[in-house]
């Protein structure tokens, strides 16, 4: 391989790796909800885009910087997730797999239609001074925003690790995952823990949405793109492993940026989906998942 090919390949690899961190944040929200409640949240991608549009509104109307707007967006997202689980989803998970599936799909459709009505199908983007800046060393340059994406992902992962492993809330989440009945028997309020978990998942989703909105343009249908990516992260990485989710995110990030590099923008998501598909065929439990 000539030096030129390598140096051309380096930026997409770095970008894919950095972007992958963000994908793992989205994936973790989905996998957390499934791991704790055995519930598939088909509206997960809609909440990713919720973060993007929320930041867009604050940026275009109030002029608030997307990074600063996180202070508003994250608590509200948590509240929405918490309230949704407490008022609606907690009534459903006991009834089996299908009722929450249908309900969250309904939420996804409602949100997608709402985005369409309010924001039109035209693509939007969060354009700031730093979202169009380049970073790099010498000849090696790529958009600066990818570094911010990765920092955000890293902070989220560290926060999550500490929450799950060093606090009573995290202990309760892990107990509820392993044996809800036993968790009740030590005095844990399962419905409350489920609501906290869903609140966290939605917070991660919209956090991902704000940074993805800074990185790529978005449309109402991006909800479903990011839902598939979140699924893909879990499929590739394996369920129930934080490290696996992280690796899954990186793999999909790389698939996208390398797909773009080799085949052009029209194929970047196609390549990503292809990787998910291949993974489902050859190793359905994921890279670090345990065969069940």
């Amino acid at each position: 391989m000539s030096l030129e090919v390598v140096s051309n390949l380096l930026p997409p690899i770095i970008m894919g790796f950095l972007l992958g961190g963000l994908y793992s944040v989205i994936g973790f929200g989905l996998s957390l909800v499934f791991g704790v409640m055995r519930m598939v949240n088909l509206a997960h991608g809609s909440f990713v885009i919720f973060g993007s549009y929320f930041a867009w509104v604050l940026l275009t109307i109030v002029g608030l910087d997307p990074l600063l707007s996180l202070v508003i967006i994250l608590p509200i997202s948590f509240g929405i997730g918490f309230g949704l689980q407490r008022s609606l989803l907690n009534r459903l998970y006991r009834l089996g797999v299908e009722p929450p599936l249908l309900t969250t799909y309904g939420i996804a459709i409602i949100l997608a239609s709402a985005y369409l009505l309010i924001f039109t199908p035209y693509s939007r983007g969060l354009v700031t001074s730093y979202s169009i800046r380049s970073a790099g060393f010498g000849a090696l340059t790529f958009p600066l925003i990818f570094i911010l994406d990765f920092i955000a992902a890293l902070i989220t992962m560290i926060f999550l690790y500490i929450l799950l492993n060093k606090t009573y809330v995290g202990l309760a989440i892990r107990c509820a995952t392993q044996d809800p009945q036993a968790a009740k028997l030590v005095g844990m309020n399962i419905n409350h823990i489920y609501a906290l978990t869903f609140g966290l998942a939605i917070t991660f989703a919209s956090l991902g949405g704000v940074f993805l909105g800074l990185t790529y343009p978005f449309i109402p249908a991006s909800s479903f793109t990011y839902l598939i990516i979140a699924f893909g992260v879990v499929v590739v990485g394996g369920l129930g492993s934080m490290l696996g989710t992280f690796i899954g995110g990186i793999v999909l990030g790389l698939a996208q940026t390398l797909g773009y590099h080799f085949f052009g923008i029209g194929y970047q998501l196609f390549i990503t989906y292809l990787v998910i598909l291949v993974m489902l065929v050859i190793r359905p439990q994921g890279i670090l998942g345990v065969k069940r």
Partner: protein
Amino acid sequence: MSERPLLKLDQVSVYYGDLCAVRDITLEVRKGEIVSLIGANGAGKSTILNTIMGLTHPKTGSIEFDGRRIERLETHDIIPLGLALVPEGRRIFPELSVLENLLAGSYTRRARQNKQQTLKRVFELFPILEERKNQLASTLSGGEQQMLAIGRALMTDPKMILFDEISLGLSPIITLKIYETIKKIRSEGVTVLLVEQNVRQSLAVADRAYVLKAGRIVLSGGTKDLRDEEEVRKAYFGA
């Protein structure tokens, strides 16, 4: 013995759908007692314990613990009152360490205050748990897992512990050791309600016993009177 019972069930009936699991259960446990509830498989023993703990709710009847009505409370509101259950099959958290399992027991605000003291007490009772505190709970032997389940229940700082089929799947030696521990726990002021198929063993440690058959209490009394009694054998094995 004239003081008010710590736990009192009055005419409790529990249904699963249309099916009546237990009917008109009336029983009481006084402070400091070990009371045994015996009966064959399917007689409704676990149902009674689950109902006391708020995991299911009775259709009729009342349950009183420490002077409070609890039959409509949820489990997470009952635990802080000082009731704990060591469930059948132990139900430890397999992918948590031994220490984390115990800390999970101290989840309620009340239990958290005395966490260190209680932990010390549990480790004195079961030194093996301290030795293995950083191990995953799933790597423990059956007997050790049972100790962990008891330790976790103790961590909730209970006034009373309910034990469900504690000797199930354990060797006779381990079972004996577990029963010694139960006596020790009682001597430290914790009231005990035992549910067992192992009649001989549980009658040996209990002060009083209730015999359950097909969802009803058919016999009760002091274990001295009940032991070796033809009636028990008939009620327990009865045709």
